[in-house]
Amino acid sequence: MLLHTVNKSGFANSALSDCLAVVSPNDAVLLIENGVYGALNNSPSEFAHIKNIKRLSTSGTRFYVLQADCEARGLDASTLLATFTIIDDTGFVNLAAEATAIQSWY
């Protein structure tokens, strides 16, 4: 299992969409720093990355978002896509330990 971390907003940067284009069903994706905006469900229109996240989630890819970075930016859990699991730093470490390798998208 690969752990993909994304630290740029999906609205401003291609890092998230580039990541989603090569993610495998048994991989995990963790949004950190400004990447957490990519987990928002309250966008006025259906952005391509949201569609891809939903599709990949159905095929088995796990999606996570880092709690501290959401809190810092005022993102409430209720505004996030249901496909995302909110994890803390310990969860981040556990994912990293579980992964065969980590790919950082920035």
Binding site: L2, V22, S24, T100, A101, I102, Q103, S104, W105, Y106
Partner: protein
């Protein structure tokens, strides 16, 4: 994994340096050019006027450091209207092969 275009910042150059160092240290190293990274492979780069080291020339040193596995993401080329005729190194691979390459990597350095 090279995802950034050359010259605008130091990321691409640092990636090349890391790949050369990995090769020099005897680590089994593969290089993957993907997304904006494929711009690094355009021929005819002449960076003298912007006072930068020619990264195309630097990349050509990879095989001398035993880094022979040089892969290029086909979709990234297509999206930029490039073909394998436009690039000066590497073999093109599709997304399935990219996934397999990542899945079998012990560690990934991302530049």
């Amino acid at each position: 994994m090279f995802r950034h275009a050359p010259y605008g910042n130091a990321i691409a150059r640092e990636g090349l340096e890391a790949a050369l160092a990995c090769g020099a240290m005897g680590a089994k190293t593969s290089v993957l050019y993907i997304n904006e990274g494929v711009w690094q492979l355009l021929g005819q780069q002449d960076s003298r006027a912007i006072d930068c080291k020619n990264q195309s020339a630097m990349a050509s040193a990879l095989p001398l450091y035993d880094v022979d596995a040089i892969w290029v993401d086909e979709d990234s080329l297509k999206q930029r209207n490039l073909t394998s005729a436009d690039i000066n190194a590497g073999k093109t691979i599709d997304r399935t092969h990219v996934q397999a390459l990542l899945a079998t990597s012990k560690s990934i350095l991302s530049f």
